[in-house]
Symmetry: C2
Subunit: 218 residues, 2 copies
């Protein structure tokens, strides 16, 4: 498989974690979002959404990260990301889709750019916007985790929820979001980052990252 992505794109990061957790080999092909490579015709003819990640594999180019993750888990049944039990599946999806549907888009690069131009907002106002929407979804995610009595992961091992959570936390840290009142999210993040799958998927360990030190496994 070939994963077209960008080291810092949170949806690309989701896919890297999902592929790593499932043990699926892939080639990482950087797409430079800052130079709008994803909007070039060579790219949009394959993916009309003009977005990363795009996964080439199984005879097809696929473009939407959540649809991709659901497909991966159905097509490659070993090391499932979603638990087997129906109620647990709902729980994992509730928390993952809260982040993916409510929170991701208002924080995504195109929206932040639009706030600056044409709407004319300052970087400080954009930061306030960013942290406002983070609280609005991560507060109830934390509350649900507390209700559920979560340990190091939502279930026994990291899966569907952690695939979506970790990239959002990474993103939030770049905007100085305060996680001190979120012990469950913080504990899960630490437990994930201790695992080699999450380390290999981390933005800093991608070849298009300025942090890349040449030692990452891909």
């Amino acid at each position: 498989m070939k994963l077209y992505g960008y080291f810092r794109s949170s949806t690309s990061y989701r896919l890297r974690i999902a592929l790593e957790l499932k043990g699926i080999e892939y080639e990482n092909i950087p797409v430079n979002l800052l130079e709008s490579e994803q909007k070039g015709e060579g790219f949009t003819s394959r993916n009309p959404f003009g977005s990363v990640p795009m996964l080439e594999g199984g005879g097809r180019d696929r473009a939407q990260s959540m649809a991709l993750i659901e497909w991966l888990d159905e097509a490659y049944t070993e090391r499932p990301l979603l638990p087997a039990d129906l109620e647990d599946r709902y729980t994992a999806r509730e928390l993952a889709y809260a982040i993916a549907t409510e929170l991701h888009a208002p924080l995504n690069l195109p929206v932040l750019k639009y706030l600056r131009d044409p709407l004319g907002h300052s970087q400080e106002e954009v930061g306030v916007w960013y942290r406002h929407w983070l609280s609005r979804t991560l507060d109830p995610v934390e509350a649900r985790l507390a209700q559920l009595g979560t340990g190091d992961f939502l279930f026994e091992r990291p899966g569907f929820f952690e695939v979506v959570l970790l990239p959002q936390v990474y993103n939030a840290q770049r905007f100085d979001f305060d996680f001190s009142d979120k012990p469950h999210i913080t504990r899960i993040e630490r437990a994930c980052l201790a695992l080699p799958e999450f380390q290999r998927a981390h933005p800093d360990n991608q070849i298009d990252s300025p942090e890349y030190n040449g030692e990452a496994p891909r």
Copy 2:
């Protein structure tokens, strides 16, 4: 089952269509978003997201519309919303999740309110914002439908994609979005609205709608 929703909420509308298409009986309980009923403690103690729809059923309160729809389709296997074939499932989810993850949140009421206050934008600027994000996702959705050679529905009968598409189109029409260059979306919308399941789910036919004429079946 009890569906807590608001007639005009597009995520509540998704759930009504899903329940109707699956033939699942439910009681519709209006929650007045304009009076912030969903933020009252009686509600948030059951649903920390303070959002509609909330579905009470199967011994649990469930809160996130996409997780709910995935759960409904797994728990009630008759009249599936997702097709059986893995590739078709990816296709349905790609288009549905494009709308649910990229498009829904920037158009949702809390974001539109925030643009007016504290950001101070006019109703006209909010309208430009709204139509900008609509184009950005509905243009590639239309392009994918053209690539796929779609008929009256994405597949033989309406399902997962139409559940998400119809509420977004209804919403867009309220903001005078121009669909004249979107023949595929327009044709699918018309074919859906000709069906009794979509008519019963329509916002105008809910008891909390000012359009309600007392003749809707619930």
